[in-house]
Subunit: 114 residues, 2 copies
Amino acid sequence: MQTKDLIKGTLNTIILNLLKEHGQMYGYEITQEVKRKTDGKILIREGSLYPALHKLLADEMVITEEVLVGRRSRIYYKLTSKGHEQTIEQTTELIGFLDTVALLIYPGKKLAHG
Amino acid sequence: MQTKDLIKGTLNTIILNLLKEHGQMYGYEITQEVKRKTDGKILIREGSLYPALHKLLADEMVITEEVLVGRRSRIYYKLTSKGHEQTIEQTTELIGFLDTVALLIYPGKKLAHG
DNA sequence: AAAAATACATAGACAGTCGATACATAGACA
DNA sequence: TGTCTATGTATCGACTGTCTATGTATTTTT
């Protein structure tokens, strides 16, 4: 299991892309959506997620809105315009990197995108 | 520039795959080959490479052979059978991870392999 | 009533990569 | 002759991002 090492550097971009796709999400929802989409292959822990979200907030990539559901509060995260730009930039870079790594580990193959 | 974060967790697998492809390589050769193959997009530093190689040696994934070229010594690294197994295992896992991430950042697309 | 799921959060540990630095040989060029 | 660049191995300390473990509290299910 080296998957936990692989996640490094990609978590942020994954979060940003999910927010872009869904418009707004709360923390627990993000962990469940990643779990669902990846069929349990990638599990984001609270100890990884919340610090990452707080940093995105501090960097003004997202804004938050607290919503009470019953007596429990949810904190929704939504991209700012700066966050949108950053999402595009980071995603481009990540795709480029994935391409490049793919190139190194099975020569002649590339990511199918476009 | 987050590329340096992305490399985390992939460096080992990249090295193993290069050794598998080339039979044997020395440190400096690895840095140059990665630079060449990735068109300068991935640069492996000495401070990253040598600790990684030393760990592979300690884990018996590679064996070394010192060769004198003129008065300068090169240390060639070659996969052991254990290293071969590990290469296959890690590569499979990495490809799976790349697939999964691709899934998260552009839905519906997958790595072209097989 | 107990257990599991939902929902947020933080602290400390850990590991991997980088930047900087070091030493030495070799070749090119002025 | 002297200097610069490339070749080649190597280590140290710093940084940073993720994980494990833990905590609190509410809601739903059994």
